[in-house]
């Protein structure tokens, strides 16, 4: 198995032909006989009591089949974070109160989408407006409007179900605080006292949209005879969605089947449970008819999760030579109306820092605050991009202040391969030093840094680290590899194909393990009824955990085949090799048996066992439960991916417009299973990161999203992309499949910092609030007289 013939190659994607010919089925393409369409009525007010809802006119509209309101779904709760301390508080339909503009207050099912939409106009809601609060700092003040009363769990919480001994308890948020985190290690005060130089800065990251191309969609169909719900939906891991449908609709978990569809992009935005999903299932069961809910792009912006809004205050103490000795970070997360993953995002903003830089003495505190705005979830990095902006830009400025070189500064403060982080995570692979050096070299750091301001050009650098799955619930995966009659295999695993290339990478892994070619793999994936347990594919755990399970399953089958071959060939298993659907003796390749022959033999001789491999993997094997979100203690992941990125920009001083000339992404994602797919992931993140740095921001006015469409929310298009260079800095990760680990999330954060730092180099003006729009840059240049 030393010579690799399938992994490590830019093989064409297994979903390619389907996706290139229009045959690939997405949820939006699912049509069922007798299917009804549902539309949701959204709250026009940011904060109001619902006095009454009159649905009678809507119900009378020809073609309308049903109208439901919060009265129908009263008491149903769900949430991404659902722990004893932080029980879930989201609800599918507002009950007695709305908390943000865009919250669902009623749903209409009708014979077609137009009729359902027309009916929304006929629903009369009598609101009693309450004073809203939009700013998290204001929301924390005494006397501010209280967004939530007592939060009570009506069923057991998710963590309870997965074995945490404590029961969830009701609680009433005080001063709108949704969650807090405090992570400390070392002696921060002593650290600062020993520092030669201390700097404090503030950074701000806005809410942004994942902007996956496929708007959120679900189809559900209820079989009244089997009492079973069939579902086609946008998701990133069906176990999570199925769990919530089971919980919210009180349907036995095996009586819900999530069918495979391709998902039109996710980037984090399709992982959590959504209101429309519960409503879709609810209506399907109530009406015994298939229901389709397709959200509009406007709803995706205004009512679906966006990225977290972070305000960060960062204080860092360094020695004269640039050695970091202490850091104190205060994070305020503007959570919006419901907390969703805000407690996680605050924690992750710390957790992703730790493997990159040794800060020695750290205090990281965070508070997530309820406001009357749409709420948030992970977007490609989940807390890390916001934190890297604060840290990398401050490091850049510290270097400027002390006359140090940022690249040297980073290299000096890095951790080392084999280091154990304060929480116990060990860095068995650590390509970051090489990534920093190579990305700097590729952008021409030495020749350019600080030397092009007269041309309004500059270069900058940013870094990041990212987990490869974590202990969220069990966060474990299983895979099955079946040997077929003709010596090919059928791989059965649950991960969802949302563009990242899971189907292809996993097929490659399985093929490689068994000496097969990619064409020899039939794949069954992403179907909750056909596939074994699967919790991965978000938290960047896809390849490492899901792929790891596939690797283990294929190796399990490999062992079995070798055992049979050794029996048949009367040779030691280690003397036998597998290739081209056959086993042969290494010393005498002519002596061989086909897989088909071996399988037939095995069935005959061994009680009909046709040779099936199975394998599983858990994100962090050593831990029983979960890292503490509020204290940051406990193992967190088993491998980190790393990126260093550099960028070169040019600033038009007259207008403030920033043009990115080049982005370099040097990434350590461990061994690259599919090199073309990895390149795709890196380029993708470079372009998204550029958008974040320069123009992406969801703007709102008193809680109303002002740019809920692709005209006003601008994302990079074909003409905007700069030269992009991707450098492979892979460090073999011993625990990953073939040495692979995280690849899809890390780079985005590094690119944002690189671009923002390059702007400083070009202008001498430090902007730590993104996006650096032309106007923001213009004003910053003007304010600093440059």
């Amino acid at each position: 198995m030393n010579e690799r013939s399938v992994v490590g190659k830019p093989l064409p994607r297994v979903d390619g032909k389907a996706k290139l010919t229009g045959k690939a089925k997405f949820t939006t393409d699912v049509v069922l006989p007798g299917m009804l369409h549902a539309k949701l009525l959204r709250s026009p007010l940011p904060h109001a009591k619902i006095r009454s809802i009159d649905t009678s006119k809507a119900e009378k509209l020809p073609g309308v089949v049903a109208v439901i309101t919060g009265k129908d779904t009263w008491g149903i709760r769900y949430g991404f974070v659902d722990t004893p301390n932080y029980p879930a508080e989201e609800r599918p339909i507002a009950e007695d109160k709305v908390r943000f503009i865009g919250e669902t207050v009623a749903a209409v099912a009708a014979i077609d989408p137009d009729t359902a939409e027309d009916a929304l106009d006929l629903i009369e809601v009598d609101y009693d407006p309450l004073p809203p609060v939009f700013d998290p700092v204001e929301a924390m003040k005494d006397g501010a409007p209280q967004i939530h009363g007592e939060i009570t769990r009506t069923t057991s919480c998710a963590w309870e179900d997965w074995g945490v001994a404590r029961k969830s308890h009701s609680y009433t948020p005080v001063n709108n605080v949704a969650a807090r985190v405090l992570v400390t290690y070392g002696d921060v005060e002593k650290g600062f006292a020993e520092a030669d130089y201390v700097r404090e800065d503030r950074s701000r990251s806005p809410g942004t949209s994942h902007m996956a191309m496929e708007p959120h969609t679900m189809v559900a169909s209820w079989d009244p005879f089997e009492q079973k719900l069939d579902v086609w939906m946008n998701h990133m891991a069906y176990e999570l969605k199925r769990y919530w449908l089971h919980k919210t609709l009180d349907i036995p978990i095996t009586k819900i089947r999530i069918h495979k569809t391709y998902v039109g992009g996710a980037f984090g935005g399709k992982a959590p449970c959504y209101d429309y999903e519960v409503i879709c299932g609810f209506l399907a069961r109530k009406l015994c008819k298939p229901i389709k809910i397709e959200l509009t792009r406007e709803e995706v912006f205004s009512s679906c999760r966006n990225s977290h809004r972070f305000d960060i205050n960062i204080k860092t103490g360094v020695k004269k030579d640039g050695t970091i000795v202490a850091q104190h970070v205060s994070v305020i997360v503007d959570a919006g109306a419901y907390k969703c993953s805000a407690p996680v995002a605050m924690f992750l903003s710390h957790a992703m820092c730790d493997p990159c830089i040794d800060r020695k003495n750290v205090r990281h505190e965070g508070v997530a605050v309820y406001t009357n705005k749409n709420f948030n979830f992970a977007r490609r990095g989940h807390g890390a991009p916001q934190m890297r902006l604060a840290a990398d830009c401050q490091y850049d400025q510290i270097c400027e202040d002390l006359g140090l070189d940022p690249v040297e500064f980073l290299l000096k403060n890095l951790r080392k391969k084999g280091d154990v982080c304060p929480n116990g995570d060990r860095l068995d692979s650590y390509g970051l030093p090489e990534a920093i050096k190579k990305s700097a070299e590729a952008i021409g750091w030495k020749e350019k840094r600080g030397k092009q301001r007269d041309k309004n050009r500059g270069v900058g650098i940013g870094i990041n680290g990212m987990f490869s799955g974590s202990g969220y619930w069990p966060f474990a995966c299983t895979a099955i590899v079946r040997l077929n009659h003709d010596g090919t295999i059928t791989l059965i695993e649950g991960d969802c194909e949302f563009g990242q290339g899971a189907d292809t990478a996993y097929s490659q892994i399985a093929a490689e393990c068994l000496g097969l070619s990619l064409e020899d793999v039939t794949l069954i994936s992403s179907d909750s009824e056909l596939c074994p347990m699967n919790y991965s594919n978000f938290l960047s755990g896809g390849l490492f955990v899901g792929g790891g399970a596939v690797y283990n399953a294929a190796m399990n089958l490999r062992e079995k085949i070798l055992r049979v071959a050794s029996e048949v060939m009367r040779a030691k298993p280690e003397d036998i090799e597998l290739k081209n659907r056959a086993a042969f003796l290494k010393s005498n390749p002519k002596r061989s048996y086909t897989f088909t022959e071996l399988m037939r033999y095995h069935i005959q001789k061994h009680l009909g066992d046709p040779l099936i491999g199975y394998g599983y993997k858990k994100a962090v094997p050593e831990i029983e439960f979960y890292p503490s979100l509020s204290k940051g203690t406990g193992r967190f992941t088993d491998a980190y991916g790393f990126t260093a990125s550099t960028a070169e920009v040019e600033v038009d001083r007259e207008t403030g417009r920033v043009r990115v000339l080049k982005i370099v992404v040097a990434d350590d994602c461990g061994f690259e299973i599919n090199t073309a797919a990895i390149k795709g992931q890196m380029v993708s993140q470079a372009v998204q990161g550029m958008g974040d740095a320069l123009f992406e921001e969801i703007m709102d006015d008193e809680g109303r999203v002002l740019n809920p469409n692709l005209v006003d929310y601008e994302v990079p298009r074909a003409f905007d992309i700069p030269e992009i260079e991707v450098i492979d800095c892979s460090d073999y990760e011993p625990k990953g499949p073939f040495g692979g680990k995280e690849a899809g999330e890390c780079a985005r954060a590094a690119v944002i910092s690189a671009v923002v730092n390059a702007i400083y180099d070009a202008t001498g003006v430090r902007v730590m609030r993104i996006p650096v729009t032309p106007e923001r840059m213009f004003n910053a240049l003007k304010a600093q007289g440059k």
Partner: protein, 290 residues
């Protein structure tokens, strides 16, 4: 989208008669690249649409040395962009068209539809005004010619009567020693315009003196804004950097932009200064060579 009745006109005459019949409840569909979005959003719900897009008789680009250029109102943006005739004689139009939305929209959308939708951030109007365009409006009762400069009255509003159809855009022959330049400013390349401007400069032959100037800006007022003072000030002057800068400042002072998600009013004024300055300079350089 609400239901509507649909008529496809087979001739201009039929179109005129349909539109005079349904003028109170109907809308003309010329390409529909903005209209269909409005229908889908139910921001407008006419009871009938009169589709004129198929009218071949309004799809032409013709040039005559004496009378100049005539573009049928139903000529697509793409046809204008790709027309060798326009590239040779009115290149600014071809260049400008590259900024109009996307290829797909330019393939289906028509120049007439664009002008009649009267979006103040539309690309074509400033350049056409700078080129001195006139419009031919026809109805069952007859026809009239109006200057494009006088066509727009407010956001999405023009002087066109409910029973009229825009039939043709006319432009005088290219003036000697003249160049027209179009410049736009947006955050992303194909993004929504924060400001755009079209500047026409005529120089005294063989000199640096400006004989005539026209400066038109969009996205800074409810209609494409033709500067009065700034253009007037340039006339008869040698176009030094100082003069150009002064004119650009003057142009900015004549604008009345609003703030929105893309830019504040103040910033728009700043960008006008830069953009108009750059456009004048470029047009001036070209005019000297023209």
């Amino acid at each position: 989208m609400k239901d509507f009745e649909y008529f496809s006109a087979s001739s201009l005459q039929e179109a005129c008669s349909l539109i005079s019949q349904y003028k109170d409840v109907g809308k003309v569909l010329a390409g529909g690249q903005s209209l269909i979005t409005l229908l889908r959003q139910k921001l407008i719900s006419p009871t009938c649409l009169i589709d004129i897009k198929g009218l071949k008789e309004l799809d032409y680009i013709e040039f005559d040395k004496k009378s100049g250029l005539r573009i049928g109102a139903l000529t697509t943006h793409r046809a204008i962009e790709k027309s060798p005739l326009i590239q040779e004689k009115y290149n600014v139009l071809s260049e400008m068209e590259k900024s109009v939305a996307s290829v797909q929209t330019r393939n289906w959308g028509t120049i007439g539809g664009n002008l009649c939708s009267a979006d103040p951030i539309g690309d074509p109007a400033p350049s056409l005004i700078a080129l001195g365009a006139k419009l031919k409006l026809v109805s069952a009762k007859g026809e009239r010619i109006v200057a494009l400069e006088e066509f727009f009255t407010d956001y999405f509003t023009t002087i066109i009567e409910p029973d009229e159809i825009l039939a043709e855009i006319q432009m005088p022959p290219p003036a000697p020693n003249t160049a027209v330049e179009y410049m736009k400013f947006s955050t992303i390349e194909a993004g929504i315009k924060i400001v755009s401007t079209s500047v026409a400069i005529t120089v005294e032959a063989g000199s640096d003196v400006c004989k005539d100037a026209k400066i038109v800006m969009s996205a800074v007022a409810p209609i494409p804004l033709v500067t009065k003072k700034a253009a007037e000030m340039l006339k008869g002057k040698k176009l030094t950097d100082d003069v150009i800068e002064e004119a650009a400042k003057m142009a900015a002072s004549e604008t009345d932009p609003t703030s929105d998600v893309h830019a504040s009013a103040e910033y728009r004024k700043e960008i006008v200064k830069v953009l108009v300055k750059r456009a004048i300079k470029k047009a001036f350089e070209k005019a000297k060579k023209a």
